[in-house]
């Protein structure tokens, strides 16, 4: 039996449709609102999927152009946010397919971001965390694309498995598997890997 959407979800979908219709009727403020609401998400997703801050800038710009062009096709079957995630992932995937992500520019970006980190943490703690963060960011950029997408959407963007499945166009079981395999590879980098078996 179909379940009626919750009130917040229904209200969110209604707001999505209003924004899209305003855009279709030529209201320039509508697309500005959409940009402000999703720019951080798109940029950070492009950054983590590409591993390259400069590349992320170009990718983000292209994503928003695609959103602008294809917004008339948005049918409201998913939320606007899910649709934008899907556009971003698909575009990054197709652009990055031929290119191996560079880790050096991302390490520099992590240095910059580390400088903005929580000042309440002690210097030794921060240094250890910063180093782990840099290694982890670099390792994330080296993961196979499918595992990286799943881990980023779950652990950096905080999406539920069901939403990740809709974004990636795969089953929930596949999402579960990719997240687990991605995390397992990252553990090895952090040195929190699985316990070794004794040789027979």
């Amino acid at each position: 039996m179909p379940v009626a959407p919750s009130l917040p979800a229904a209200a969110g979908r209604s707001a999505d449709r209003t924004l899209v219709e305003r855009h279709l009727w030529g209201d320039p403020a509508a697309f500005e609102e959409l940009y402000r609401a999703h720019a951080e998400m798109v940029y950070n997703l492009a950054l983590r999927l590409s591993g390259d801050p400069e590349g992320a800038l170009d990718l983000s710009q292209e994503v928003f152009l695609r959103i602008h062009r294809h917004l008339p096709k948005f049918r409201g079957r998913s939320s606007l946010k899910t649709w934008i995630y899907r556009v971003t992932v698909n575009h990054c995937r197709s652009r990055l397919r031929r290119r191996r992500p560079s880790t050096r520019p991302l390490a520099a970006e992590e240095e910059r971001l580390a400088g903005l980190a929580d000042p309440r943490r002690g210097p030794e703690e921060r240094a250890l965390a910063d180093d782990a963060g840099r290694r982890l960011a670099a390792a994330l950029a080296e993961l196979p694309a499918k595992l990286r997408e799943a881990v980023v959407l779950r652990d950096l963007e905080g999406l539920e498995y069901e939403e990740i499945a809709r974004v990636l166009g795969v089953r929930i079981g596949t999402v579960r598997s990719r997240i687990a395999r991605g995390r397992s590879r990252l553990r090895e980098v952090l040195g929190t890997g699985p316990l070794e078996e004794e040789a027979p």
């Binding site: 449709r17 219709e21 855009h23 279709l24 009727w25 030529g26 697309f31 940009y35 720019a39 951080e40 798109v42 940029y43 950070n44 950054l47 983590r48 801050p53 800038l57 983000s60 710009q61 928003f64 152009l65 602008h68 008339p72 049918r75 409201g76 992590e110 971001l113 580390a114 903005l116 980190a117 965390a129 782990a132 963060g133 982890l136 960011a137 994330l140 881990v151 779950r154 652990d155 950096l156 539920e160 498995y161 579960r176 598997s177 997240i179 687990a180 395999r181 995390r183 397992s184 990252l186 553990r187 952090l190 929190t192 890997g193 699985p194 316990l195 070794e196 078996e197 004794e198 027979p200």
Partner: protein, 239 residues
């Protein structure tokens, strides 16, 4: 404590601890994890069904190896969540604004109709009906374009495109604009709202349409027919 393993990795069990048959791990004798890492990962995310989650919790209570595995996963996730989020550079917003300003925004009767259609329930009958409406709007848009072009060149009163062969005077309303035939040309004019509007299927419209067979030929291609009585009053018939 549960020693049953409904979710163990293939070929492993806590009793064997691995291929060697002895508990693996360090001096503490902690056993290797026996649970499927995928299951532990999903458990960490709260994405297991309740019954499955309870099974995992019961197993974890008695399996140090799996607890260590879970702690390792948790550490990875904690580090990932602490990666800083970057604010989008200001130049991104500026570049996007510049590029979208160059893009043609969706406009026009067809795009607006499509937006309005998306508000309607999408049952098949509605879909078919309004698909016809959208197609008709597209045809009307093309017709208007044709009329605009016809203003720049002479058009024969017997022009087959307009279906107005043989008529002396015809007024057609399309897309909110009114065109009068004036000899060889169509001229747009402003006309006020009609005194009455009838649907094509109504008895009043039927009486008017039956008075002149040429009117029925014009109706399918028009948004409305506006007819002027000798005393100046106007009525409108909409398909």
């Amino acid at each position: 404590m549960s020693r049953t393993l409904p979710f163990s990795r293939p070929g492993r069990s806590p009793a064997s601890g691995g291929r060697s048959g002895r508990p693996a791990g360090g001096p503490s004798g902690v056993g290797a994890a026996c649970a499927d890492p995928e299951l532990l990962s999903a458990y960490l995310d709260g994405e297991l069904p309740p019954a499955r989650e309870r099974q995992v919790e019961a197993h974890l209570a008695g399996c140090p190896g799996c607890r260590a595995e879970l702690d390792g996963l948790r550490a990875v996730v904690d580090h990932l969540r602490r990666l800083e989020r970057a604010a989008p550079p200001q130049v991104l917003g500026q570049a996007v604004a510049r590029r979208v300003a160059l893009e043609a925004r969706p406009r026009g009767l067809v795009a607006r109709l499509e937006a309005a259609l998306r508000r309607l329930p999408m049952d098949p009958a509605t879909l078919v009906t309004f698909g016809v409406v959208v197609a008709l709007a597209a045809i009307l848009a093309l017709f208007v374009t044709g009329l605009q072009e016809s203003e720049r060149r002479p058009v024969s009163p017997a022009d087959p495109e307009t279906g107005a062969a043989g008529l002396e005077v015809v007024t057609v309303v399309i897309g909110g604009r009114t065109f009068d035939r004036d000899g060889a040309l169509w001229r747009e004019r402003r006309v006020g709202p009609p005194e009455a509007t009838f649907a094509a299927g109504s008895p009043e419209a039927g009486a008017i349409l039956d008075s002149d067979p040429r009117l029925r030929r014009l109706l399918p291609g028009a948004e409305a027919l506006v007819l002027r009585a000798p005393d100046g009053r106007t009525v409108s018939i909409r398909p």
